[in-house]
Amino acid sequence: MQRWIISVLRRTIVSERGLLNLTTTRGLMTTPPKCAKKMPDRPKPPPEKEFTEVFLHGSGPGGQKINKTSSAVQLKHAASGIVLKVQATRSRTQNRKLARQMLADRLEDLEKGDQSRSAIKTAVKQKKKSSATKKTRRKYRKLEEEKLAAQGETGKGKEG
């Protein structure tokens, strides 16, 4: 209880100091700045001549008579045979940009393999995830050991 009051007090003091002195040197970020390696740049989409673009739309009348919300964009890259469809947003302009970026990523994957931006990104993510799981595993192993040790002690106590 006492400890809790102290911690609350300390917190209020800190926050008051922060309010009084707005130009505090302490940053807002609590996590340390990442010194990790810079990610490779996003690949540039191929020139427009290399692929064809189709706006997917149903048959039947168009214009004022109907009100379609579909804004799907399909790109076909002839050389690699990649076909991709994007309908993530309601904006056709946005979908066209996204589709070009996706095509660029896919082409880079084909060209560079594990050295491509997306491969590096997934590798970094996987590494982070595996180290996190390793950490939790370590933690629970430690807890388990402590528990066992405690049980052993109580068991001994009973015997004695």
């Binding site: 064809t52 673009e53 189709v54 706006f55 739309h57 149903g58 009348p61 168009g62 214009g63 004022q64 008579k65 109907i66 009100n67 379609k68 919300t69 579909s70 804004s71 309908q87 947003t89 309601r90 904006s91 056709r92 302009t93 946005q94």
Partner: protein, 366 residues
Amino acid sequence: MPRLPHSLLLRARKISPLLPLVLRGTRTWDSAVNELRWLREHVEQTTTTRDSLLSPHKRLRILCERRAKGEPLQYILGSQPFGELDIICEPGVLIPRPETEAYTEYLAQFINQHHVVFKTMTGASLNPSTKSTSNPLRIVDLCSGTGCIPLLLHSLLSNTFTALQIQGWDISQTAVSLARRNFRENVKRGYLNASPRISFEVVDIFSNLTSDQRASLKCDILISNPPYISNESFNHETTRSVRNWEPKLALVPNISCSYSVLPQDVFYARLVDFHFNLGQSKILLMEIGDDEQAIRVVKILMDNLKRSTGSDLQNNSIEIWRDWPGQASDQGEKQELVIEEVSVPVRGSGALRAVVSMRKSFPLNC
């Protein structure tokens, strides 16, 4: 409207209990899945004060129920992306269509490609003594609705043309107010430059125009997406959401006038009249509804040409643009139509969507 099969509704229910509701509004599976996702994103992103007491799930359910009754998604979400812009949509004003977006972008691309010609032409036609760049490119959009066409043209042309003078006219006060609001909002969000300004006015183009309005029509580009649906096809071809929720004023012309054309083509007769006899505009672009209407409008243009300039078809070129004028035409899509023994080029793929008339001395090979 065909009944939705029970199996489809059951399949939708397995994915989400809200999907059958959206499906009742959209009638197709793909758009139902997409629209439910967008509705969900909308609920997650907006924390409205009005119904903040409701849980997000309850709010989503209310929106889906509105969609089930056929209310257009754009009215529910309150907006429609249009090029780089975000256009506010409200009941009483027609929702911008993707085809309109496509031909507006294509027109802007065409103007940008030939900006030198346009600059010298506007300079020459207005005031030969001053520098050509100081004269603005003047654009008038008739039946402007939400203001989507003028705003998108502004967004796409303002980099090339430092001087632009864009006007939007509409008969509806609601539409004009919304268009002005759309300009302000898009400027506020940084999608548009604040200057040059676009002006939106309430104008009935079938009334006797004032001298100022007549002067405004002597512009470089006249563009319009007028009401063009006949009463017959309004009752049979429009979808439920259009028929029940969008303003009939913007869809079906209801004007008795002296032009000897079909009632659904009245606006075209007026526009062509402006283009040839009053406006002297360089480009006239009109959205049209279907193939038959495209041919009728081309005929109206040709009749006027013969009358006003003495069968001078050589001095003018007429083109038809399809839904996606920038795309290569599909197999089986004609690239030209022969109307009254004149060959009219047809650009792009999709259904016929716009008729374009351009004055002579344009390098029209884009």
